[in-house]
Symmetry: C2
Subunit: 350 residues, 2 copies
């Protein structure tokens, strides 16, 4: 990928490609659907390392397995789970990345626990105050939008949001190939004075250049701009970001269901419905969050892909692919440089 940034000073050793560690036990449909996805990914040529309890995974079709006897459940307290379940698939997957046995980890399990595993085992990129979850929002017909933080930090400081701008910008360069991503701040009005104290202070910092030369700050955007071409990267706190993401998810699901209901309803000839479905399917496919295969935890010392809890086998295939590309593009190195380049920026505080 040619993102316009200089090539890495020292390329990582190019030998055999490291496998992607897939947490077989995480997700609403684990382990069957996750294992099925891992198998499909492997068939398509991706090296995969399944992490989980061999007794519960069923037939793994000859995939390499890293045994882990414990499972972090979806609603467990993340911190406690990671501290107490040291032989869980999540912790073992993160360790595999840390130890150079895997190139990236993928999990559709407990998001908080996946974050905690990655953070505790891979560590933080030097200078990063808080890792953030970056999600790609598909906008059919237009370029997608990177939204962060999508839920890692329910409460944020302005300095953290400035770092999210730096990391989000680097992520959009690497992942979407946008040479100079337009970075916006989510608020409730375009004017700098609009918003809550966090938005106002962050606006002042970013407008003052605190993001450094690589952050092209274009000002505030509103909720209606998330599915538009107003910005490539939208920065917000993890509470607002998570609410936005789930609101979009709910409304798109609702709209699709309502449209399909109208198409299949009385008054619409069967062949008309069929023709419309044919026209709508590509749209539904583009809008499907599974298309982008999962969110990426930015700021930790390795690649951690967080998939939707309801992930299907196809979502896992895409997530594995996202992980492979992040490794190939040296995403972590790019993030490291993005954060280091702005060392003259404000010191990230608590």
């Amino acid at each position: 990928m040619t993102d316009g940034s200089p090539a890495p000073a020292a390329a990582p050793p190019r030998g055999a490609e490291l496998p992607i560690a897939v947490d077989a036990m995480g997700g609403d449909r684990a382990p069957a659907e996750i294992v099925a996805g891992a198998l499909l990914a492997a068939e398509a040529g991706a090296p995969v390392l399944l992490v989980g309890d061999p007794a519960r995974m069923g037939d793994t079709g000859g995939l390499e397995v890293l045994p882990a006897s414990q499972t972090v459940e979806m609603h467990e307290d993340p911190g406690r789970a990671v501290r107490t379940k040291k032989d869980s698939s999540l912790v073992r997957a993160a360790e595999a990345v840390r130890d150079g046995r895997a190139g990236a980890m993928v999990s559709a399990g407990n998001t908080g626990a996946a974050m905690a595993s990655a953070l505790f085992r891979m560590g933080r990129i030097r200078g990063v105050a808080r890792p953030a979850i970056a999600t790609i929002i598909p906008v059919p017909g237009l370029s997608p939008t990177v939204l962060l933080d999508a839920g890692a930090n329910a409460e944020c400081s302005p300095a953290w949001l400035v770092q999210f701008a730096q990391m989000g910008s680097a992520f959009a360069r690497v992942r979407l190939g946008i040479a100079r991503p337009r970075v916006a701040l989510l608020s409730i009005g375009e004017e700098p004075g609009k918003g809550n104290p966090l938005a106002k202070e962050t606006h002042a910092l970013l407008a003052g250049g605190a993001g450094g030369p690589d952050v092209e700050f274009v000002g505030n955007v509103e909720g209606r701009d998330v599915m538009s071409d107003a910005a490539d990267v939208i920065v917000t706190d993890g509470f607002t970001g998570n609410v936005v993401l789930k609101t979009l998810e709910g409304s798109m699901k609702f709209a699709m269901k309502a449209v399909l209901g109208a198409v299949g309803g009385p008054g619409v000839p069967e062949e008309a419905g069929a023709a419309l479905l044919g026209a709508l399917m590509p749209l539904a496919g583009e809008l499907d969050p599974e298309t982008y295969g999962g969110a990426v935890l930015l700021g930790v010392g390795g690649v951690c892909i967080i998939s939707h809890g309801s992930s299907s086998a196809r979502a896992i295939v895409n997530a594995v692919e996202v992980g492979r590309r992040a490794v190939a593009d040296d995403l972590v190195g790019q993030l490291r440089r993005a954060v280091a380049a702005s060392a003259e920026g404000p010191e990230p505080g608590e």
Copy 2:
């Protein structure tokens, strides 16, 4: 000027229905579209009082006019505008309600200035810490959802959110006829421990009964529940609420455009497209925010309807109707009782 003072003790004379004061100068399409809407509303039988600059309103078709020589522009600072433009249509409309010359006010203009006019001229309901904007989110096929605060207070305290729960509950009873509305708190997980400090503290208060016996608290909901049947009233701070509302607006607009594009695109026979449009139109109509005619400012001593800045004549007709119904249903009295009934609740603080 009677800023913050209680409404006149003497009840307005009950005889002829008071007119709805329509701010002719507020909105992206003012005054022409607003005047057109007022005329349509009057034709349909609503008593209307047009407030604005007679020189700029054009033909008002014989409607009663309350002259106001000034106009608050869309992006003016609300507080300053209301202080300095004492002869603006917004301020005069609020005064008409205060003085018993109108039953309610309707404006599609500067939202902050409409709020400030209503607050400064009509005063606050006794015991209300902060007025909030309540919006009705249409959910075709299911009962609509009341969302508040949709933008009046960018930063909120837990005690204010408890009051929003009380006011939102009373509003849903009056406006939607729901005997015992289910009130939920917007957060980023269903568990009480999920969310930012505001959400966690508010959850503890509401779960502990701080809303009083009339608030049926059903716990946290997530963004995906806004367009679902999970709750009748969703409470949040004005920053998050405004972001959610605009995210919904943007995504629904996007979805409709995309679907219509698919219907009219290649591969769909013309007659099939026409049949589909016929099936989709009722859905589009139900989803149109104009259907509900505007948001209501809850907590001030009179009825103030805040319409979308882009309001069409049809939106104004609906807003006038919302205003009439709020007056007929004694919404302000109901809110007064809802807040007074829970006087044993926490004292609303700053």
